[in-house]
Symmetry: C2
Subunit: 583 residues, 2 copies
């Protein structure tokens, strides 16, 4: 992507939170602020940063965590699975190679030594505080013991495949900041490897906490390699998509062996969490027959198709324990897929959806028996008044395992605006404890997101996640709001821009009405114009009543006000004027 | 505006709901739908229409309601107030005329005969069912007695100035569909009369239920004349803005006489509701001194400025009864302004805001003594968890008078995206009973909305209002969602577009990925591509389990499923496969 697009805003700079004792440095974005008109200095504001150190796409990122993983002494390098050209699809086989082979270093895969489990949950339960936990505690500005105990209890996860050492640890759990995921990936009908790496960097620049590579077209393996080697955030996938490619798109030809091989391929590459649709049981499939929109989850319908074709139980369910054993060797987290989620508000909270949730709760506890980290996926399309039931039911059934939802969309009538219909539901569901929100872009239901759509989706979801953090009273969440509001009140236009989620857009919108550079320091806003301004009058009020002496008068006036209201609030009491007078 | 922009979507047509007995015809938009793949016919869907019959801006609309008003025999024409060039500002005085005088007919103003009250509330309380009430009942698909009784109780209003006969009656109250308002109007820094009429027609095309003309620049009187004569929806204003222009923008020079003259000027033109900041009492002003953002309401700060300058009580409060007498003669509704609303989440639900609300409750009941219709304005900037308290407190204090809120915005950090930050709060506050939502555009806090911003703001607020209607279980609200979802499931792409709030945008987004015309009838979506499609598998499931016989099997399977879950949901029961088998 062009450097200008990736350039930082001039008032933003890279800074670090440091834990010297343990040699940990957490990157943050520092926003420099101007002084207030009165001359009062406004200290810089530090905000959470997801974009990482930045990388050259063909080289990749440094292996940030490799040392931490090695020092634990419980992993070993090994030859790894034999690379197979079909991993990149039929056209790669025809060509004899992927369309853009990864030229950077291919790390030797690691796995747990025999009999060992290398998951963050395993360490947390053993009382071990890992560097990943310390990094997260610094990043979230909380006690590391909160991090350890929440991971140990299964109420939070730190997705961190030992084969993705480039990633910066982050935590997903209701006790922490609400996170957002951005989906990227090619399909049978569009796009190139470079475009996908570009989208990855673009998504993390704007604030994506994790990225899912949902590629379903050619070069799936190699696209994923490029993405993981360049990703400062955890990468999630839906392995069944690649497995389906390996059987020429015919769901009935899928087998556990092909799926297992695909999972190991992805574990060795460094995928941090995988969506597994093990809750789509044969007996639940008919529950969808009367729905308005049947099964809309791609993975869910693949497994439903398989179950129908074979009249056998979902092999992801029958082989679930084997999957747990594999994930425990790489610290891959489950994202238990909601294959039967409603695809329309008419189908919300129905028998099929909740039957599957019961099974996801069962599987959550089975994974925990292997110390494997788990989050549970949720819908979808849900009318606003039914949203809360989804998170509360999931939290109760799944003993507090993190909930990870797509939206939900609260109406079906606005294709082209589903980032908005879903951000409304996302704020509601996050307020009550959903830990991560999967973004929805304006192209939802219509096509594949381009870069603008990815940006719009990420920023819209940062809004939903932040609004939920404020509603949950998350410590410090309001600092950025208050700093921006103070800047607004003081007409520090440049600070308003640099404190906003999208400074360039805010500044461009301002300039449409008042392009002149001086306007950015002018003490009026374009809504009122120079002649009259409400904010200026407010400042006159503060000048008149803001002093220490005035505060005492205000206290007195509050009493008067109470008396007045007590008196029925109807009679006009002249003496209250005297109190109001500064004389 | 160019006709192409105002053209209807090809599948949309103008139809009418008729009450032949009373000669009432309510325009609706009829959306034609294709047959389902199986050949099943899908009847056309009729949806609420706000755009009216359409008008030539220089001619205006027919005087739709004039006959109804005349037949009641309680109004009389009169010479009306002497036109004054200063009504259009200083530059008009200099020029000797407004910059684009209204060339259409200037109706002779009407007012109530001496001693009469001509408000819909007056008729409703007297048990009279007006044509306006019948029109509304047909439009809302409800019993006319519900309309009459809600208006009589003050829980709903039908803004309908007798001097705005061009308007199509609509109702604002929590028992009815949630409405949205779009703000237009020029300012000291921009725009022309034609642009404002253009924005009016554009806003009603996309679904604005009312429009407020917030002009603060030149030609205020004439701009309003053009707007009212062309408006099929009620028009609201904030008269203090024009009054301030008449005193050269110096709030301290405002007097009751100047304000009263301005109100009568606007009553004669046909303004349907006016924002009156009578709750900004002198003793409340100091309560804002410690706020992060002081007073951000323009009207509120004008009155606060006046109170400070004179150390006298707000003249809108002291002369409130006179205002009621005037409004009762024209059926102008109060929109009691929240001049002390919070301008940042930090100031939400504070002493100043709630002190003013107490006074607005007092004034609501005073207006009702004059049979004058009232709605109460609300904030503003409110964190998500504090939103609900606002509507519940207002409903309790104001005895159910309609609440009309701006957003609220649930975070301050996203200038450029405040249509989204506010739609989140708007959905929450409407869910609990707010009757009308004032839109917020992407330009909020930054500049004046252009046409694209107006469209984005209106559609975003249609989403919030509709999501709230669904959450409230409003009868029939889900029909459009279900029709669109069915079309989506059946790959009726063209129907998906024509059923959506913005068909052109939905179709354009689809075409970016799959431009070919055949794709619009293709049985796959661009997300999965032609090779595999989840919706197609769902249809296979329906084919297999959707039949009558299969339904019985499903019923049986539900039992099995219950047994299974009762049995602990862990053991794999082979017989459930047999049930799943169609053999």
């Amino acid at each position: 992507m062009s450097t200008s697009e990736m350039e930082q805003h001039p008032a933003h700079s890279l800074a670090f939170l440091t834990d010297d004792e343990h040699g940990i440095r957490v990157p943050v974005t520092e926003i420099a602020l101007d002084d207030s008109p009165g001359g009062e200095a406004n200290g810089p504001l530090r905000v959470y940063r997801t974009s990482g150190p930045g990388s050259d796409p063909v080289v990749g990122l440094p292996a940030y965590r490799a040392e931490w993983v090695a020092e634990r002494g419980d992993v070993e390098p090994y030859a790894g699975r034999e690379r197979n050209l079909l991993d990149d699809g039929r056209s790669a086989v025809r060509r004899g190679e992927a369309s853009a082979e990864w030229k950077g270093a291919r790390p030797v895969p690691l796995r747990a030594k025999p009999g060992r489990r290398v998951t963050q949950m395993h360490y947390a339960r053993a009382g071990v505080v890992t560097e990943e936990m310390r990094f997260v505690a610094l990043r979230e500005n909380c006690d590391v013991e909160l991090v350890r105990s929440e991971v140990a209890a299964g109420r939070a996860i730190i997705p961190s495949n030992i084969n993705h050492p480039e990633s910066e640890p982050m935590i997903i759990g209701k006790a922490f900041l609400v996170k957002i995921n951005a989906n990227i990936g090619n399909s049978a009908v569009t796009s190139s490897i470079a475009e996908e790496v570009d989208k990855l960097q673009w998504a993390t620049k704007w604030g994506a906490d994790t990225v899912m590579d949902l590629s379903t077209g050619d070069d799936i393996h190699t696209t994923r390699e490029w993405i993981i080697r360049n990703s400062p955030v955890p990468i999630g996938t839906v392995p069944i998509y690649q497995a389906l490619e390996k059987v020429n798109g015919d769901a009935s030809k899928l087998t556990w062996e092909i799926f297992r091989d695909t999972v190991i391929e992805q574990c060795e590459q460094g995928v941090d969490y995988m969506t597994i649709h093990a809750g789509v049981l044969l007996r639940y499939v008919p529950l969808t027959a009367e729905r308005v929109t049947g099964i809309v989850s791609r993975g869910g319908s693949i497994m439903a198709g398989w179950c129908l074709a074979h009249h056998e139980e979902n092999f992801l369910y029958t082989h679930f324990d084997e999957l747990c054993e594999i994930f425990a060797q790489y610290d891959v987290a489950f994202s238990l897929g909601d294959g039967l989620r409603p695809g329309s508000t008419a189908d919300a909270n129905d028998a099929a959806q909740f039957a599957e949730l019961d099974t996801l709760a069962e599987l959550t506890k089975r994974a925990w028996e292997y110390d494997v980290q788990v989050m549970v996926e949720g819908p979808g399309h849900i009318p606003f008044h039914l949203v809360r039931e989804n998170i509360e039911r999931q939290q109760e059934l799944c003993d507090g395992a993190p909930f990870y939802t797509l939206g939900p969309l609260v109406t079906d009538i606005a294709p082209g605006y589903d980032h908005i219909t879903s951000a409304i539901g996302a704020t509601e569901i996050a307020r009550y404890g959903t830990a991560m929100l999967c973004y929805v872009t304006p192209k939802e239901h219509l096509g594949l997101p381009n870069k603008d759509d990815v940006k719009t989706g990420v920023i819209t979801y940062k809004i939903a996640a932040h609004a939920a953090d404020l509603a949950k009273g998350h410590p410090g969440a309001h600092e950025r709001d208050d700093a921006l509001s103070k800047a607004r009140f003081e007409f520090r236009w440049k600070d308003q821009f640099s404190l906003s989620l999208d400074p360039a857009t805010a500044e461009a919108f301002h300039d449409e009405t008042l392009p002149a550079e001086p306007a950015k320091t002018a003490h009026f806003c374009s809504m009122c114009g120079p002649k009259f301004c409400s904010m200026r009058i407010s400042q006159d009020i503060r000048n008149e009543f803001g002093s220490k002496e005035a505060q005492e008068a205000i206290a007195g006036m509050r009493e008067k006000s109470q008396e007045f209201l007590a008196a029925g609030g109807k009679v006009y009491l002249p003496e209250t004027i005297a109190v109001g007078s500064p004389e």
